[in-house]
């Protein structure tokens, strides 16, 4: 008998697959169900010059603050309960990152195009707006049909690697969300070469159906190369129903943008330590 692929790995092993200069996507949305343990592992690494693709939240802010980001592809960056992401703002206002803006729907089409392996998907979105000025990658396309309509060609957004965080999965990468919204995590994995899923808890495959209905099983193992068990791994973003956002922690994080000293202190306290030590420290709060 041939054994199935062994996909179990740690954040460190996943990050060892990455290289500086890569394009890396992060699932979730704003400050919700973000693969934060993977983000923290990247922060501990010597990776640099990354192109980041995200429905942006503190993943973007942390990577910007740590100087890991060369270019950012996004439609928004927000901490939800704190509408504007201070580290992202600082990076934009100081000119530290290259900016590639999208409309939310156009961003979806870019992920979908990459997952479907086509160069673009046509859309009305963007017509007349300054997106066509601010994102020089955008081009127009003319309908080949009788209508001849001029549309925007939303470009595919392929990635070298992507990380998503799920409530549950089995060891083979069948991922399950139990919260309010699946977001676009399957598209990130579909659009990426190296695909990593972290999860609150790895359970036997037969237990997945006890955790939630079939429609909660939104990630197939066909989309996953590495499975990371990461309890509380989305901290401090929300991972409902397992836990809500840690608002007090998020406030502390946001305040770390006030000065280089505040950032250094946050970094020393919360980022220059292993994931296990981080989680132990969070539990002791």
């Amino acid at each position: 008998m041939t054994a199935p692929r062994n996909k179990r790995c740690t954040e460190e092993e996943a990050v060892a697959e990455l290289r500086s200069g890569m394009t890396i996507g992060f699932g979730g949305w704003g400050s919700r169900r973000k693969p934060m343990s993977a983000v923290r592992a990247i922060l501990r690494s010597d990776l640099t010059d990354l192109t980041v693709v995200s429905w942006g939240g503190p993943d973007v802010g942390l990577l910007c603050a740590a100087g890991k980001v060369k270019r950012l592809l996004y439609a928004f960056v927000s901490l939800d309960s704190i509408p504007l992401e201070p580290h992202f703002r600082a990076a934009r206002q100081s000119g530290a990152i290259e900016d590639e803006p999208y409309d939310e729907g156009m961003f979806l089409l870019g992920l979908q195009a990459a997952a479907w392996r086509v160069p673009f998907l046509p859309t009305r979105v963007g017509l007349g707006s300054d997106l066509l000025r601010d994102n020089p990658r955008l081009r127009m396309v003319t309908s080949p049909y009788d209508d001849g309509e001029e549309l925007v060609a939303a470009p595919a957004i392929p990635m070298d690697a992507a990380f998503v965080h799920m409530n549950r999965s089995d060891a083979r990468g069948n991922g399950q969300y139990l919260g309010p919204d699946p977001y676009f995590d399957d598209l990130f994995l579909g659009a990426a070469e190296k695909r990593f899923l972290s999860t609150e808890r790895i359970v036997p495959t037969e237990q997945l159906s006890e955790e939630g209905p079939p429609q909660s099983l939104v990630i197939s193992r066909l989309l996953v190369d590495g499975v990371i068990e990461a309890p509380n791994g989305a901290h401090f973003t929300s991972c409902a129903p397992d836990y809500d956002r840690d608002e007090a922690f998020q406030k502390q994080y946001a305040a770390s943008a006030k000065s280089p000293e505040a950032w250094d202190e946050f970094r020393t306290s919360w980022l220059d330590l292993s994931e296990a030590d981080y989680q132990a420290k969070v539990r002791s709060l």
Partner: protein
């Protein structure tokens, strides 16, 4: 005798003005974003537009009149994750009310960045869904802090496209575009002029036309007779107070002057 504006909350006038934006919309997704917009949308559905569909602010369409809290859980009509929202946006069965950090005389809106976009003075959220919303759906705006910096001569970045940008695209590309109203803490603005320049539609009780002019960064179209904004009926006040927003979140967003 008390003046009219001492008898009604300014916030309630704003709520009614938001509700009026959705009058006549029928069976579509009313998607007001923000505190007073959500309350206004709920009021429209609870009174004169019963076929509107509305979200819980996240991934469900719910039937409840309460705007923000549903002890025991809301009555869920439909699963509406973010991805599905784009089906409504692009299908056109939606009227969105967004915020605006800047909005100009044609209804061009900016929520991305203040100053030169390439190196902004103030980075905001990003483009979010504004380009796609405005080219596909009826759009209105909510401005809780009407001032010349917000209702301004020119926006720094056009996220949501206004009537002049839509006209420049031609009739085919702009056929689904409509900027309907801008509701502010001072007044209601619309674009019902020959070239769709912003017009003062009504002033809230206690606000003068000159105050609106002073708070606006360009020359508004001002009719000879500017009516007062519609006041909430006693039934509407009761509904808002007891069901839609019993915690009074609206009064925190727009305090009485």
């Amino acid at each position: 005798m008390s003046e009219l504006h001492e008898l009604v909350h300014r916030a309630d006038v704003c709520v009614v003005a938001v509700a009026e934006c959705f009058r006549g919309d029928g069976e579509i997704l009313a998607n007001p974003i923000g505190t007073i917009p959500m309350i206004g949308g709920r009021l429209a559905r609870a009174t004169f537009e019963p076929d509107l569909a509305m979200t819980d602010g996240e991934a469900r369409l719910i039937a409840d009149d309460a705007a923000f809290a549903w002890p025991g859980g809301p009555v869920v009509e439909h699963f509406n994750p973010y991805r599905h929202m784009f089906d409504w946006v692009w299908n056109g069965r939606r009227h969105v009310m967004m915020g605006a950090t800047q909005v100009d005389r044609y209804g061009n809106q900016n929520i991305a960045a203040i100053g030169d976009y390439a190196r902004p003075k103030v980075q905001l959220l990003g483009y979010r869904g504004a380009p796609g919303n405005t080219i596909n759906d009826v759009t209105s705006y909510w401005v809780p802090n009407h001032s010349p910096a917000v209702v301004c001569e020119a926006v720094d970045t056009v996220c949501g496209i206004g009537w002049d940008r839509a006209a420049a695209l031609g009739p085919e590309a702009s056929r689904y575009h409509e900027i309907r109203r801008v509701v502010t803490n001072l007044c209601v603005l619309d674009f019902e002029t020959p070239d769709h320049r912003m017009r003062l539609r009504s002033v809230h009780p206690g606000v003068t036309v000159d105050e609106v002019r002073d708070a606006t960064g360009f020359d508004l179209v001002v009719p000879d007779d500017v009516p007062g904004s519609r006041l909430p009926t006693p039934d509407e006040v009761e509904l808002i107070d007891s069901v839609i927003d019993p915690d009074g979140l609206r009064l925190r967003e727009v305090p009485d002057p």
